[in-house]
């Protein structure tokens, strides 16, 4: 089986600083890869390189069998979409929800101008937001709703790869769970391949099929979910797992 996305020996340097150091990684189709690591470990840089927002110093990225070059085609850009950490910063506060969703739809010619409104309603229904939202502005929604809108925009252009960079970190715990459920459901409905970035191991456990651990720009461990959480292969993986604060044993519900 060919990988949906393959990262080959990727190095990124900012000035003299090496943000990514020879990272190689494969994402199997229709799976979720959970990328964990502390702040500054290079998780977000990896996401940005894959999304084409930063160009690598060395190494290459393959989407299916296509090599993604320095200048990507519109089709290649369309296939990789990203949900950012903070929906406040990623949604234009002066645009209505319809404008926000329509822009990507029209740019990538997903539907005709006459069908945009229908398509927007369909997208909102997918992320479980009422269609009256179309005429409203981002500030009229809660953090969780805004994150759903950001997800709706990302899936609007029918991507193959969805990158979610800490999409739940800015949200309250109760809302966090519903966004995780939504991502899970969208992944199977739209057969997406997801790169999910978080420093929260609980969230990673709830979502991922495979876990990749980064530290100081290097990939230190790639493991499937069950074995990572039971028997991490590296000391650093073990350190991360034991650092998570635990609840006392509670009666099973």
């Amino acid at each position: 089986m060919t990988a949906a996305l393959k990262v080959d020996n990727l190095t990124v340097e900012y000035g003299g600083f090496t943000a990514l150091d020879q990272v190689s990684l494969e994402l199997a189709p229709n799976t979720t890869l959970g990328l964990v690591g502390e702040s500054g470990s290079g998780k977000s840089t990896l996401a940005r390189v894959i999304a084409g927002l930063v160009s690598p110093t060395k190494g290459q990225i393959l989407l299916g069998s296509d090599v993604l070059g320095k200048r990507r085609t519109r089709e290649q850009r369309k296939s990789i979409q990203m949900v950012a950490q903070n929906p406040d910063a990623s949604l234009n506060p002066k645009h209505t929800i319809q404008q926000i969703l329509a822009e990507a739809l029209l740019f990538h010619k997903i539907v005709d101008r006459s069908q945009v409104r229908e398509k927007c309603k369909e997208l909102l229904a997918r992320v479980r937001i009422d269609e009256t939202a179309l005429g409203k502005y981002p500030h009229q929604f809660s953090g969780g709703q805004r994150q759903r809108i950001a997800i709706a925009r990302a899936i609007s252009v029918e991507p193959r790869i969805l990158i979610a960079d800490e999409p739940t970190s800015a949200l309250d715990v109760s809302v966090q769970l519903s966004v995780i459920e939504l991502l899970k459901q969208l992944k199977s409905e739209l057969s997406l391949t997801v790169l999910f970035i978080s420093h929260d191991l609980g969230v990673i456990h709830a979502l991922s099929d495979t876990i990749a651990v980064m530290k100081k720009g290097q990939l230190v461990e790639v493991n499937n979910r069950e074995s990572f959480f039971a028997r991490p292969q590296t000391a650093y993986g073990y350190e991360l797992l034991t650092a998570v604060p635990k609840m006392p044993p509670l009666p099973t519900r």
């Binding site: 309250d172 420093h199 456990h205």
Partner: protein, 261 residues
């Protein structure tokens, strides 16, 4: 328990011009050496309650009812260590200044005490020779400085406002261990505000659950977690994502060292 609590809040109500009940009718007591947890989501009023104890309410918000009695000194640890420090002032100097004013000792003596505090908190020795600015330290180191600032006030009650939320898990663990260790050594009482139940469960003997400015449930930590009465408490408990137990074979010394070799 002694009859006189260190900290006693009685029917505290906080209001702004537009919202008469930001916090309503909150009461609790903290006795010497005790740790309590105030939990809830953003907007539940937990941070405001904490700030009202030290008179640090933002302008426009006032205490309209109730009584706050603090029999001793209080000091606070803030959520964001970077913002709690003055970026234009080297850290040891900041610490020495607090010692100078709060412990009323000479500038020279305050510098010596500041250096002792640094050692207590496990900050690098290099700070003795060369003072550094907050941006030259990591997030975890900055939070240690913020804790040192609080301890410099020799508090009887330490108020912690989400002190580890902005930190990585491994650093979080170090900071929590540090706070607990110092509590044993220095004997302060603690009010710990957080939305993370797993953190409070190991730290606090009593929990107070806040929602929309009101206390909805309170009790001893373990019974409260095992048998929550209010649906909101249940929801908070359920939203802690579980991690499976590590298998016993995975001792760290058997593991190959990754990039940290």
């Amino acid at each position: 328990m002694a009859n006189h609590p260190l900290l006693h809040l009685e029917n505290v109500t906080l209001a702004s011009r537009f919202n008469p009940s930001l916090v309503s009718d909150v009461s609790f007591q903290v006795h010497a050496g005790e740790s309590i947890g105030l939990i809830g989501e953003s907007g539940s009023g937990k941070s405001l309650t904490l700030r009202s104890i030290l008179g640090l309410l933002p302008s426009g918000i006032e205490q309209t009812d109730g009584r706050i009695q603090l029999n001793g000194r209080g000091a606070m640890i803030f959520q964001d260590p970077i913002r709690a420090l003055d970026p234009l002032y080297p850290v040891v100097k900041q610490l020495a200044e607090v010692v100078h004013y709060r412990q009323q000792v000479s500038r020279k003596a305050s510098h010596v005490i500041a250096l002792e505090l640094l050692e207590l908190l496990g900050l690098p020795d290099s700070l003795r020779q060369k003072d550094r600015y907050p941006h030259q330290l990591s997030g975890g180191q900055c939070q240690r400085i913020v804790i040192a600032l609080a301890l410099a006030c020799k508090p009887d009650v330490l108020l912690c406002d989400e002190p580890t939320t902005a930190l990585d898990v491994t650093v979080q663990r170090q900071i929590l261990e540090l706070i607990v260790r110092l509590q044993k050594e220095l004997g302060y009482a603690m009010v710990f505000v957080t939305h993370n139940l797993a953190v409070t469960s190991s730290l606090c003997s009593r929990l107070y659950v806040m929602k929309e400015g009101r206390l909805v449930e309170e009790g001893e930590t373990l019974p409260l977690l095992q048998n929550p009465q209010h649906p909101y408490t249940r929801m908070l408990i359920d939203s802690v994502l579980p991690l499976p137990e590590l298998s016993e074979l995975s001792e760290p010394n058997e593991l190959k060292r990754g990039a940290d070799a």
